[in-house]
Symmetry: C2
Subunit: 308 residues, 2 copies
């Protein structure tokens, strides 16, 4: 059963971990948001791709859920000595990833190829694909500062500014890579991880042709809600929904996805919530331990198999 999972960073990576420990490696493809990517100190940094790579390679910092476990910031401290901005905390081991990626990109390779090389060199057997090879930049319009590049909003200002709009710069020049197209075309199940629907999943869905391609597939297309009991498990999802005038509920996320999905998984605490999706299930969705991740992945796949 070939599964394609769409994700952003930490939350989505948890489900990716669960699926990677449930499915045969060749059956899992993770398509990752690259709207958060940016240039920093001359390096191409792809936070969501790296979170998935570090998670599936076992290198990830288990406390943060991103970055490399035990990483240091000696290079960053030295950059600070030179007077550089260091609010984005690049680790030393992490820099190795960015150095390789940047060199290969400058050498003319696509981000898809570069990501394949990085995952292969770390011994990851699953496929991790950027949503597109085009450079797309999520821009956040805020009340306090006007428009901010994503990482300025997210990391420098710790997503505290009030969001009033979003756009994905460069999205009109983006297209689906052959690898992404083939993965979705051949998928038996399409999953949307519990990532931020507006900041992490919408960029993926906005790549030219992606929405239509997904809708064209007569397969289970199932989202896992990032909103549990009216709160976000992590990050700015709930705050952002409130700022955009959207009710902070798992139901509103389902409405946002609309006819893109035909199945929806909510947490047990949201049992009874009225959700406009054909098939709905309530499970324990908060993934704290690695066991939680595997159990949720198994439970979701069993449920989906039951109605295939």
């Amino acid at each position: 059963m070939k599964v394609v999972l769409l994700v952003g960073g930490v939350g989505g990576a948890k489900l990716a971990y669960g699926l990677a420990n449930t499915l045969p490696a060749e059956d899992l493809t993770v398509i990752v948001n690259t709207g958060d990517d940016f240039w920093l100190h001359g390096l191409r940094v792809c936070p969501d791709l790296d979170t998935v790579i570090y998670t599936l390679s076992g290198l990830v910092d288990p406390v943060n859920g991103w970055g490399v476990a035990g990483d240091t910031t000696h290079a960053l401290d030295a950059l600070q000595r030179y007077g550089e901005d260091t609010w984005f905390r690049l680790g030393d081991q992490d820099i190795a990833t960015h150095l390789l990626r940047t060199r290969w990109l400058h050498g003319g390779h696509t981000l898809t190829h570069v990501t394949e090389q990085l995952t292969r060199n770390l011994g990851i057997p699953q496929r991790i694909l950027p949503m597109t090879d085009a450079q797309v930049s999520t821009m956040v319009d805020t009340v306090e500062y006007g428009e901010l590049a994503f990482q300025t909003y997210f990391v420098k200002h710790r997503w505290q500014p009030t969001l009033r709009g979003l756009r994905f710069e460069g999205i009109e020049r983006s297209d689906l890579s052959e690898a992404v197209r083939t993965a979705v075309e051949q998928a038996d199940v399409l999953l949307i991880g519990p990532s931020n629907p507006w900041l992490s999943i919408d960029p993926i869905l906005s790549v030219d042709g992606m929405r239509d391609l997904i809708k064209s597939r007569r397969i289970p297309r199932v989202a896992l809600s990032p909103i549990v009991g009216g709160m976000a498990i992590k990050g700015p999802a709930a705050k952002l929904m409130a700022e955009l005038g959207i009710p902070v509920t798992a139901a509103a996320v389902a409405e946002h996805y609309g006819d893109l999905i035909n199945g929806y998984v909510l947490d047990r605490v949201d049992a009874g919530l009225s959700v406009p999706v054909a098939r709905v299930a309530n499970f324990e969705t908060v993934m704290k331990t690695n066991d939680d991740k595997v159990i949720l992945a198994q439970t979701m796949l069993e449920w989906i198999r039951s109605w295939m």
Copy 2:
């Protein structure tokens, strides 16, 4: 008294340190070999410039004489995990220097400008200039491996292959920067550090116009011998001379510089050696402590002043 010093790496940086602690900051310009520079992991690495920068900023590792004191290699270890070659031991703090330099070079700045920025940001008041803004690569022809890029010869093979020739790739496209030309034109004294005459000083002298410019100056032009008692204080100078069929003596170094110099400083142990230079002095030239460096610099400058 404006002093210009030509140097390579560690040995030359010692004299630079001595001079920096003897002269007013505005009176010292250090012109540095860039033939050792190379691209590594997508970074522009300039080992000799960095040795001088780290030395004059006080960051230098006092044991090695190069690199940053207490530096770690976590990024390098992570690159190794990706399967990359790591025989060139880039430190984490060192990488910050290379990241900045590479970004600024890619942004269209000259190496002269980039070096000025780096030194200014570290609070170094003296001028440190690359020999040229052109990319020049010292290539070493060896008996065992044929032609090797300099760092492959020097670091990977620890200068053990037998050298049979040298060339400076790109030297024909090099020219003097305005900053180097002005520094030499305005110098009251030109010094050649105790660096390797063939590997470190010859690239500088080979930049188009440099030899003629130096010879045109009617000022003291004084070299400090890197050969003491028939041995090199550090590095491959003695081994290289023997391989090229040159007697391993301080006199042979003076002959190599020929009419470029009109003054020569040898070690006390070489007193009595017949040297074809107008003015010759014997001093304690082996610099072990910082005091040694300052005393030698002072002694050399006093001697030079005595015949100006």
